[in-house]
Symmetry: C2
C-alpha cells in the first residue's frame, strides 16, 4: 500500500484555502509548524531537511512548487524534473504531515505584480550567472512563508547564498519565522545531492564527484594560513584538471554576510565559506564548504 492515502499521515493541499484550514487548525491547538520549501524532484537532501524540521516543530509542511520566476527563459524550467507521485511518497515516509502543491495560477494569478528583492548578499556569485534568480526566490519564499505561516523554516546549506538571502529578507521585513540551515547531504563520493544531478551522464557524474574534494582541500589549506588569492587560483587549476567544463566562480567569503575576505591569509576566528559554481557538460553544479582559521 502506498504511504500516500487514507492510511498515511500526509495530506495534500492544492489551494491556499485548504492549506490555511489545515495549518490554522494545528496552530489553534498550540502546535508549532515547520516548513520546507522544495521544487520537487526530491532526494535524500530534501528529506533530511524535512526530518530536521520535524525535530524542531510539531507538524511539518513541505511545498512542491517549480517556481517559474526563478528561471530565466534560457534555463531548464520546462525540463526541470517533476514526479509528484514519488515526491509525495518520500515526504510521507520522512514524517511530513502536509504537502503544499499550489499551481502557478494559484501563486501568480492574473494581475500579480509584486516582487521582493535583497541587495548586497544577493549580489555576485550566483547572481553573476543568474541575475533573475534571487528576485524570484525572495518573492516566492516571502509568499510561501506568508501562506504557511510556519514557526520555523529549514533551507539547505547547499544553496548557501540563498540561505543568507532568505535570512536577510526575513530579518529585514520583520517576518515572524525562524530560518534554519540544514546540512548538505552528500553521495558516497561527496557530491552534494541535487535534483539536477539527474542530468549527469556517467562520465559527467564521475567528474562531478570531484568538486567537494577540491573545496575541502582548499579549506584545509586556508586553515593552515595559505593566502586566499593563491589558494583560489590553485583551486581553479584543480577544477580544470578534474574535467569541469566551466567555472562560474570559486570564491572565499565571510560566512555571515558573504563580505569580501581579502587576498592574503584569512583572519583568524571568523567563519568563512568557500563557494563554487561549475559546469560539467550542460549541467551546472554548486557547492560550498565551511572554513575558519583558528
Amino acid at each position: 500500500m502506498s504511504p500516500v492515502g487514507p492510511d498515511s499521515q500526509l495530506g495534500v493541499a492544492r489551494t491556499l484555502k485548504a492549506l490555511r484550514a489545515r495549518v490554522d487548525g494545528w496552530r489553534s491547538t498550540g502546535l508549532t509548524v515547520g516548513f520546507v520549501p522544495t521544487m520537487g524532484a526530491l532526494h535524500k537532501g530534501h528529506l533530511s531537511l524535512v526530518r530536521h524540521a520535524a525535530k524542531l516543530s510539531d507538524r511539518v509542511v513541505a511545498s512542491i512548487f517549480v517556481n517559474p520566476r526563478q528561471f530565466a527563459v534560457n534555463e531548464d524550467l520546462a525540463t526541470y524534473p517533476r514526479n509528484e507521485g514519488a515526491d509525495l511518497e518520500m515526504l510521507g515516509s520522512a514524517g511530513c504531515h502536509l504537502a503544499w502543491c499550489p499551481t502557478p495560477e494559484e501563486m501568480y494569478p492574473t494581475g500579480y505584480q509584486t516582487s521582493v528583492s535583497v541587495a548586497e548578499v544577493a549580489a555576485g556569485l550566483e547572481s553573476e550567472s543568474r541575475p533573475h534568480f534571487f528576485g524570484g526566490v525572495a518573492t516566492v519564499v516571502c509568499k510561501l512563508l506568508n501562506q504557511v505561516r510556519p514557526t520555523v523554516a529549514v533551507f539547505g546549506e547547499k544553496d548557501y547564498q540563498q540561505l543568507l538571502v532568505i535570512k536577510r529578507m526575513v530579518r529585514d521585513l520583520d517576518m515572524s519565522v525562524q530560518i534554519v540551515g540544514g546540512e548538505t547531504v552528500r553521495e558516497p563520493d561527496g557530491l552534494a545531492m541535487s535534483s539536477r544531478n539527474a542530468y549527469l551522464t556517467a562520465d559527467e557524474r564521475r567528474i562531478a564527484g570531484k568538486l567537494n574534494g577540491v573545496l575541502s582541500d582548499l579549506a584545509e589549506k586556508l586553515e593552515k594560513g595559505a593566502p586566499v588569492e593563491s589558494a583560489m587560483a590553485e583551486g581553479r587549476g584543480l577544477l580544470e584538471t578534474a574535467g569541469f567544463d566551466r567555472i562560474d566562480y570559486l570564491e572565499t567569503r565571510w560566512a555571515a554576510d558573504l563580505g569580501a575576505v581579502g587576498l592574503g591569509s584569512l583572519e583568524t576566528g571568523a567563519p568563512a565559506r568557500i563557494l563554487a559554481a561549475v559546469a560539467v557538460g550542460r549541467t551546472r553544479l554548486i557547492d560550498n564548504w565551511p572554513v575558519e582559521r583558528a
Copy 2:
C-alpha cells in the same frame, strides 16, 4: 491632566520587542487588532482612520514613523512636521490603544537591504513625480504589517493610489491582513486634510481649497456622459484659472486597478476615480474623487 500617561489607555512602544509583547498579549486572549500607519503630524483625517479601525477591531495600534525611504533627497524629509507630544494626545483621545514609534535605526538597522516593489498599479500618477515613493511605501508598510500583525489595517482614500498599491502587495504576497480604505476628511471648503497643508500661506490656502471643487464638478460632467479627454482638458484649465502653479496630473482611471479608461464617455456601471496632483507655491497637494456613470 494629559490623556497620555498612567490614566490613559494609550501605551507607547519604541522597540519591536515592546510592540510584540503588547500585541501578542491581546492576540493570545482572542482580541482583534486594527492598525493605522501614519507619519505623525496628525490631523482629523488620521483620527478618522483610528476611529474606523476601532469600529473594526478590539484594539487599535497607530504607528508614527517618518519613513526616510519614501522621500527623495530633494524632498521635505528634514522639514516634515513632527510633534510627537501632540500626536500622542490626539491618538489617546481618538481611542487608540498603542502608539508604535520606532526609530529609523530600529526600522533600518545597519545591513538593511530588502525592498518590496509593486509594478503596474504603482506606475504613473504619483510615480511620475516621485519615482522612489511607492517602493519606499510598500517596503515600510510590509515591515509595519509584519511587526504589528494586525487583523485589519486602515489607509486613507486620500492617498488613493497608495491604498491600491498596499492592497495589491498584501494580496500578491498572501499577507494575512485585511486592508480597508478610510474616507477622506475635508476642511469646511472641501480641502482634503493633509499634514502638508501646514506649509500653505493664507493665499495658497485659499487656492488649495478649490481643488476638490474642480474634481467634483468634473465627476458630475463625466457622470452625465462628457468625454474624458475634453473633461480633463477643461479641468486643467479650471485648475490654472484657480491659481495652481503646477499640475502634475489630472486623470480619470478605473477605480479598481487604475487602468486606462479611454478618451470618450466613461463606460457605464464601473467605478472610476479622478486623481489629481497639483502644486500651489512650494506645496504639493493630491486629491481624488469617485465617479461612476450609471
